[in-house]
């Protein structure tokens, strides 16, 4: 299990391949992954860039905890979460979640669990820069 916070852009495909280099070949039959990428629009507005704030210690603990919970709920070979913080541009990956298992069902379920739990409760906050200035995404969503 690996949960990482990154202040720089990352290549999710390289990260998946790098993780698999540590596996014993022939043991996993499935890898399910989710890659979340920054859009250049939100709530009807053009978005030029985004700043992602987090609560470093709590966020790291939370991501590790949901990897541990996934491992207790499904028979996984491994799991991976990478999440950006700091300044992000449209088209850059924000988040990667992945799960490896013997069969597809557990990998799919665990991967979805990781991203849904992360989105619902991990302490991250997005601030967008639009044509009219900066705004917090939680404010824009409630307008």
């Amino acid at each position: 299990m690996t949960a990482q916070l990154r202040g720089e852009a990352f290549d999710p495909w390289q990260e998946l391949a790098r993780t698999e280099t540590g596996f014993v070949k022939g043991k996993h039959g499935a890898c399910a992954s989710f890659i979340g990428t920054m859009r250049d629009f939100n709530v009807g507005d053009k978005v030029h860039s985004m700043s992602l704030e987090h609560y470093p210690e709590m966020t790291q603990q939370f991501l590790e905890a949901i990897c541990t919970e996934a491992a207790s709920r499904w028979n996984l070979i491994d799991s991976l979460i990478i999440h950006r913080f700091g300044e992000i541009k449209p088209g850059e990956p924000i988040v990667l979640t992945a799960a490896w298992s013997e069969h597809r069902s557990e990998a799919f379920d665990a991967c979805r669990f990781l991203i849904e739990e992360l989105k619902a409760r991990a302490p991250f906050w997005k601030k967008e820069t639009t044509d009219t200035g900066e705004r917090w995404v939680h404010d824009a969503a409630s307008e």
Binding site: P123, K126, K127, W136, H138
Partner: protein, 79 residues
């Protein structure tokens, strides 16, 4: 007792605070920490809070040395 109090995202901007330390009489709650740290500023709607990096409620008790955090609804991940 001493409490470390942190504020994140829009709550940091609204309160003008990122991190502070307050002296609280025992017993005290998370809400007491908010009031002491902000000088009784109005509590925002939908506020979330944590004690020692675990989600908590405003009426939860706090202990000497605790780290209390206040933040708005989270918006991680994407799409």
């Amino acid at each position: 007792m001493q409490l470390k109090v942190k504020f994140f995202a829009s709550l940091s901007e609204q309160t003008g605070l990122t991190e502070t330390t307050v002296d609280a009489d025992s017993p005290a709650t998370v809400l007491d920490a908010w009031n002491l740290a902000t000088g009784d500023q109005t509590l925002p709607v939908n506020i979330l809070c944590a004690i020692n990096m675990a989600y908590a409620r405003l009426d939860d008790s706090v202990s000497d040395g605790d780290e209390i955090a206040f933040f708005p609804p989270v918006t991680g991940g994407c799409a």
